[in-house]
Every structure is written in C-alpha cells, then in structure tokens.
C-alpha cells in the first residue's frame, strides 16, 4: 500500500448532550437562537454556595440518558459520552463492519468520574466509612468514557483519553484526525465528556474566583467570570476515501489542527502562544486567515481569557479583525471543560451548515481593553466557507480546530 500523505479527513456524524438538551441539533439550535440552557443549581453538601447557576443537563434529559436503573459501573461522564456517541454513529450510518481495528476512539475528559470521587470522599470524610464503592476506581478513571464507547461499538483501534483541562476535547479531536490522516485508522469517534457539576468540584471552582455570581458575559466590559457546564460531544471523523466508499453523507471537512504549550504560567494565558496555535491550524488547512469567516472563541468571560484571546485573534486576523465574526457560545451551554472543545466544534460546524454566526448572549458593552463586538445577542447570517474553534486551557495548553465546507475536488 502506498502511503497517502495528504489523506483528507471529513465529518460524517455529530452527537451531543448538553444543557441545551439531547442531540447535536438541540445544541446548534440553542446557540443560533440564543436560548440559554444555563439554570439554577444547588448543592446540598455546600453550606456556602455563592454561584447559583450552571449549564446543567435538564432533569428529564438526564433521566433519559441514565435510564431507570443506573448502570453499576458507569458514571454520568461515561453515560454522556455513550449517548453522544450513539447519536453520532447513527447520524453517520455506521454499521458493525465499520468498526473493529479500522476505528479508533479519542474522547477526553478533564475530571473523569467526578460524581463517584465526590460521593466517596464525602462518605469517607464525613462518616469515616470504609464501605465505599468497590467500583470507584474504574468509574473515576479519566479513560472510562473512551473505553465504554469503544466497547459499545467494538471499536478496537487505538483508544485515547487526553486530560488537558479545557483543551481535552479539542486535542482529542485533533489526535483522532491525525490518526486518520496518517493512515493508522479509517475512522475515529472523537470528542470529550464532562460531568463535573458535583459539590466539591463546584466549590473549588468558586474558590478560584473565575466563576460569576451573575450572568456570563464574554468580551463584555462588565464581565466577571464564567459559568460551568457539562455534557459530551462526539463526532465521527473518517478518511475521505472510506466515507466515499460507503456512500456516507459528508457534513464538512476537518482540515486544520493546531496545538501548543505556553510553557509559561500555569494559569495566566499567553496571547503569542494562542496566536501561534491558530497559525499552526491555518497552515495545516492550507488556508489564509481571511478565508475563516467565523471563530467560536474559547471566550470564557473571565477577564484574563478574553483580553488574551482577542489580542491573539488580532495578531492572526489583523488589528481590525475585518471580515471575521467572533463569538462565544458559553453563555448558552456553559463552560463544559473537558467537553467544551467538542460541543463548540459542533456549534461551529452548525454555523457552517446554517451559514450563520451564533451570538454571544448577555453582551452589554464593548470593553475598551478588548474593543470587540462579538456578534452580540442575535445570530448573523453570512456566507461561511471555513470556521475555527479555539480552546485555551489552564496548564497553558492551546488547541485550535478548523472545519470547512466539503468540496470533492481540491
């Protein structure tokens, strides 16, 4: 077999569970119409709770995902990933013959089994109980979601779980893309899953002072923090050749992946490194910055991220940011940490499919330190050929993905 160095990678299936409901379409529709899934959350275990909202999956949706009898060996983080993967696989029309060694799984998670960890620590700490969940280890381990997805479908190719905080899903998608491009596998189920809305996790996020007790307002002058989210996003990526061979409906092409490290400060972002990451993705895609019509920003709504990211965007797209629309959809689905990159790539693909840039909800006023009006509050219809999604994580880990409209002859 002759190695094809320029294997193109396409998207043939999407799946998501999020605060916006079950399904990728529910997520895309919510981000386009500006219908936020952020809702009140209360944790009985917390005496003090300052932040009272999160992008939590609704009760009815949760009941549907978990079923009548919760699986004894699966955490919500694994169930979310499975629900998203089942949808993506059905969407792509994959059959049993498409799995085996030809299919990899690359599904990241920042926290892994937060619910089991939280429950068992509370029980151990408060009661001194030695009767903890004997399945705690396999439920907590970060790679549980990726392993359950590989078992569900008999995907026996490489199974990866990157745990790189808020870049987990974007890097996982990029790694899947690379495995396909290098000819290791024909297809890969890629994405991220997070079920972090647990008392202990929530409290330590509060203590870091990066969550807002008000509304999440990315890029707005009066922004004062993020809102946590949860959920899972899974995409079916395939080599163009194998997608065409099975007559699959091609949604778009994934053409660029950039990732790098700040190697600087654990928490403080570095705009030069973020810019360099976006350039790496553009270089791989063979695109000029002016060919990107929409960027789904990391846009957490913290003071530091938004200043840093816009500085980086100006570096890449030009001081005036002319011809590119930028928004953050985190006020709609929350910051889903290890799932964020997958949910947001799906949102960006939604923008491409609908030819419409989704809005930044809750935006009130341009911050003079930033000077950006990020598609405020209402979607903007526009011709889009290529879109970008950024993830800029604690630990100084940056990741950028580029999706573009599929054209058979390039």
């Amino acid at each position: 077999m002759v190695r094809n160095a320029s294997t193109r990678v396409v998207v043939t299936g999407l799946g998501a569970v999020s605060a916006c409901g079950l399904g990728a379409e529910a997520l895309i529709e919510a981000t386009q119409s500006g219908n936020s899934g952020v809702k009140p959350v209360t944790f009985d275990a917390l005496d003090i709770q300052r932040v009272k909202t999160a992008g939590k999956i609704g009760e009815a949706d949760l009941a549907e995902i978990l079923g009548d009898k919760p699986h004894r060996m699966r955490e919500p983080v694994a169930e979310y990933a499975l629900a998203a993967a089942r949808e993506a696989v059905a969407h792509a029309g994959l059959t049993e013959a498409d799995f085996g060694d030809a299919c990899g799984v690359s599904i990241g998670s920042g926290f892994g089994g937060a619910q089991t960890l939280n429950k068992n620590y509370l029980k151990f700490g408060a009661e001194g109980s030695m009767r903890l969940d004997p399945m705690a280890v396999p439920k907590i381990m970060n790679n549980a979601a990726a392993s359950w997805v590989s078992m569900e479908f008999g995907a026996t190719g490489p199974a990866l779980c990157l745990a790189t905080a808020c870049s987990s899903a974007s890097q996982s998608i990029g790694m899947g893309m690379q495995m396909i491009a290098s000819g290791q596998v024909e297809r890969c189920l890629v994405g991220g899953s997070e079920a972090c809305l647990e008392a202990g996790v929530f409290r330590v996020w509060e203590l870091l002072r990066v969550m807002t007790a008000d509304l999440n307002r990315p890029f707005s002058k009066d922004r004062n923090g993020m809102i946590l989210g949860e959920g899972a996003g899974v995409l079916v990526l395939e080599s163009l050749e194998s997608a065409q061979a099975r007559g699959a409906n091609i949604l778009c092409e994934i053409s660029g992946f950039g990732t790098n490290s700040d190697a600087g400060d654990l928490l403080r972002p570095d705009p030069e490194r973020a810019a360099s990451c976006m350039r790496m993705a553009l270089r791989q895609a063979g695109l000029e910055p002016d060919q990107i019509g929409y960027v789904n920003a990391h846009g957490t709504g913290t003071v530091a991220n938004d200043v840093n990211e816009v500085k980086a965007l100006r570096d890449v797209f030009g001081e005036e940011l002319a011809g590119v629309e930028i928004s953050s959809t985190k006020p709609v689905h929350g910051h889903a940490l290890g799932a964020a990159g997958a949910l947001e790539l799906i949102v960006a693909i939604g923008a491409l499919l609908r030819q419409s840039a989704p809005p930044t909800l809750n935006f009130t006023e341009v911050d003079p330190k930033i000077g950006l009006e990020p598609v405020p509050n209402a979607a903007k219809g526009m011709p889009l050929e290529a879109v970008m999604s950024n993830s800029l994580a604690f630990g100084g880990i940056n990741a950028t993905l580029i999706a573009q409209a599929f054209e058979a002859d390039v």
């Binding site: 003090i48 300052r50 932040v51 509060e206 203590l207 870091l208 002072r209 990066v210 969550m211 807002t212 007790a213 002058k221 009066d222 922004r223 004062n224 923090g225 928490l267 403080r268 913290t302 003071v303 530091a304 911050d367 330190k369």
Partner: protein, 89 residues
Amino acid sequence: MSTDRETLTRELLEMVAEEGMIDPSEITPERPLEELDIQSADFVMILMAIEEKYGAYVSVDNELTDVVTVQDLLDLAISKIEAHQAEEA
C-alpha cells in the same frame, strides 16, 4: 449594621499581610502590591478570606485587574463588601 470604614481598613490590612505572607510593618497604602510580591494566587487567597469574614463573593473582574497599590485593593474590597452589606440589609 455595617462594619465601619476604619475597622474594615484595619482588618483588611491584616488580611493582606496574613494571606500574602508578609510582615504587616512592610505594608503601607501607597505601596504597589507587586513590590510586596503579592501575586494573582495571593489575590485569590485574600478574596477567599474576604468571603469567609464578610460573606461577600468577589470574582476576578475588570476592576480587580486595575488594582496596583495596597490602597487600590482596599478601596475595591471595601466597595464590594459595602455593596454586599447593602444587598443583605
């Protein structure tokens, strides 16, 4: 009843010293925090202490990034605490 300004200022200065792990005698209002080696991680500790003592949740916002001196931090903390007390009243 809200704590009076003078007491609040004194308590906050003690808090900055304790959480920033610096000798209280070194702290004067006009000194830049950077000079006292108070960094973002110390800010988070100071904000946690403010929450514990006064019940005011202060997230990192634009105003906090403009803080340069000890006095700037005191002014901001006092305004947040007073705003919180007004809300509770």
